[in-house]
Symmetry: C2
Subunit: 332 residues, 2 copies
């Protein structure tokens, strides 16, 4: 392997249900691997499971490059992970994340530096602001900011998902954020509540009913306080009364839940027109949210796909694990 392509970092995005490994050089991903060994799906329980999963995805890389620095983000650092990396409090910067990373012996030579999660907690001063936590999203945001330094001064991030995050960034730091359990609510209501009864069981990719989705979106976005547990019943009654075909009820429910998230998420963020709203996440889900925001007259400024590798590179740099950039090298 030529020196010019020698990797400088092994970066791990290690979540609950999957593990992704990135071999990186000068800020770029040169090789990617993925496994299903998320922290809840290890090959064997306990520390040996983490070691086996790590050796399985990156063992040969470390045989070639035994001194490669290794960093990781995500649920690996949770109380259920390999080693707990306690939360950093807001305001959280790349520097505070790097300073509070936690090392764990990997079983393969290099230690792994695990990024901490972030805690927002002003509950004692302002009980209306509920405590909130993230783990993994802070690295995705660091990646987005490293790639787009013009957003560091003031920006809002929306990372949709099982637990969507709405994040306010000021002066390059995460100053506050809110989680919304939209994706998890959608899944449990569909699989375990009466609302799933009229919905087809198949997860086959049917053509979504955009008008049913928009109807739910408008209803949720226009909801009054406390209406959630009433409005979701319409995902049954609109079917019972023939207003929506049963195949469309799942789109209605999706729109309703996203509408609820958007009205509250937008209200909690910086409302200034100088504050861009940026989405980061899986393209299909981002597309659904971006469509919704545009439909409601609040279009997003930008949509980014996976920024975790860039964020892990940034984290490794702040932790002093990377060589100083050579002048002229693209080492953002």
């Amino acid at each position: 392997m030529k020196t010019s392509t020698a990797p400088q970092l092994l970066a791990l995005d290690w979540g609950t249900s999957s593990l992704r490994a990135f071999l990186m050089q000068t800020g770029k991903v040169i090789e990617t691997r993925q496994s299903s060994h998320g922290i809840q799906h290890l090959p064997v329980p306990g520390v040996a499971g983490f070691e086996q999963a790590f050796a399985g995805i990156a063992g040969d890389w470390l045989q070639y490059f035994p001194h490669l620095p290794v960093v990781a983000s995500g649920m690996l650092g949770s109380a259920q992970g390999w080693r707990e990396a306690p939360y950093v409090r807001c305001p959280a910067s790349p520097q505070s994340l790097a300073a509070q990373g936690v090392r764990v012996a990997s079983g393969l030579g290099p230690e792994i530096l695990i990024a901490p999660g972030v805690l927002f907690d002003e509950f004692d001063q302002t009980p209306d602001l509920l405590p909130d936590v993230m783990r993994g999203e802070e690295i995705q945001i660091a990646g987005a900011l490293a790639q787009n330094p013009e957003w560091a001064d003031r920006s809002c991030f929306l990372l949709p998902g099982t637990h969507s995050k709405w994040v306010q960034v000021n002066d390059g730091r995460i100053v506050r954020f809110s989680s919304f359990l939209t994706g998890e609510l959608f899944a449990v209501l569909r699989q375990h509540s009466i609302l799933g009864r009229l919905m087809p069981e198949s997860d086959a990719p049917a053509q979504p009913d955009s008008s049913a989705f928009e109807r739910g979106l408008t209803t949720g976005y226009g909801s009054a306080p406390g209406e959630f547990s009433h409005q979701i019943f319409a995902a049954r009654t609109l079917g019972l009364t023939g207003r929506l075909p049963h195949v469309s009820l799942v789109d209605y429910l999706s729109g309703l839940l996203i509408g609820h998230e958007l009205v509250s998420g937008l209200a909690g963020m910086d409302q200034s027109t100088q504050c861009p709203l940026i989405m980061v996440g899986a393209p299909a889900l981002c597309e659904r949210y971006a469509f919704s925001l545009k439909y409601l007259g609040r279009p997003v400024s930008d949509v980014l796909d996976n920024t975790a590798p860039a964020g892990l590179w940034n984290f490794a740099g702040a932790a002093g694990l990377l060589p100083a950039p050579t002048p002229g090298e693209n080492n953002e």
Copy 2:
């Protein structure tokens, strides 16, 4: 058996998970039986299952009194029941319920007259008002009104449960109502979401933490539009940050969900001080709701336990199945 105690009605409250049978005379219950043969738990599938369950709970009664009229309410009349009794539209009165009852051969002599459910549907005129359905609660309300005629002119009913109902009554008729899936949300979030992870698995009757409940109640009642899926995450983060002991998180979540229901339910009902708010339901659950309403400065006027027998008596009377009352007899 003496003529003076000869029953005049066999009344069935036949729900999803249980079946209750009441032998009645002059409006009073003289004997009660209960079985676990709700419509989802029949001894065998199909019509034979309904016949067996009915014979099991009331066969000997009908051997003694083969000409006893039989009425039923609840999910027995749903599409998944013995025979579907289509919904009556609001405004729904005892007369319209009786006129649209549906008969089914019982396999034991008398037919069973099944009460219809009620549909609220002004969606075509006012899409903000979502369609809603009830099945069984209309009979409980008819019973409460029969026992308390002074409420018929104007009253609000709250029937808490898996699908709580808030019901506005004017001129003896159900004019509108809203369902809230509070109980079902609580169950699925506890059993199937991340929020249950920190909660003890046991359902053993621990001493509830009333201060955790009140904290959730206040937060939910004071929520802004769309905050539901954000606020429920606090049933995890208040545990993670040590604000609430793990055993109290279930009370916090209960308070939060009830607070959400109350702010919306109250807003939809007649706000006049001349309109009493009456609760009907299981005593322990009613007590939790009544406490909450009092805590929030909106005390209920009255709390009733099971009014289904009185409602079924009323339904049978309106359907012409009962003898004309003898003067002086307590035949309310």
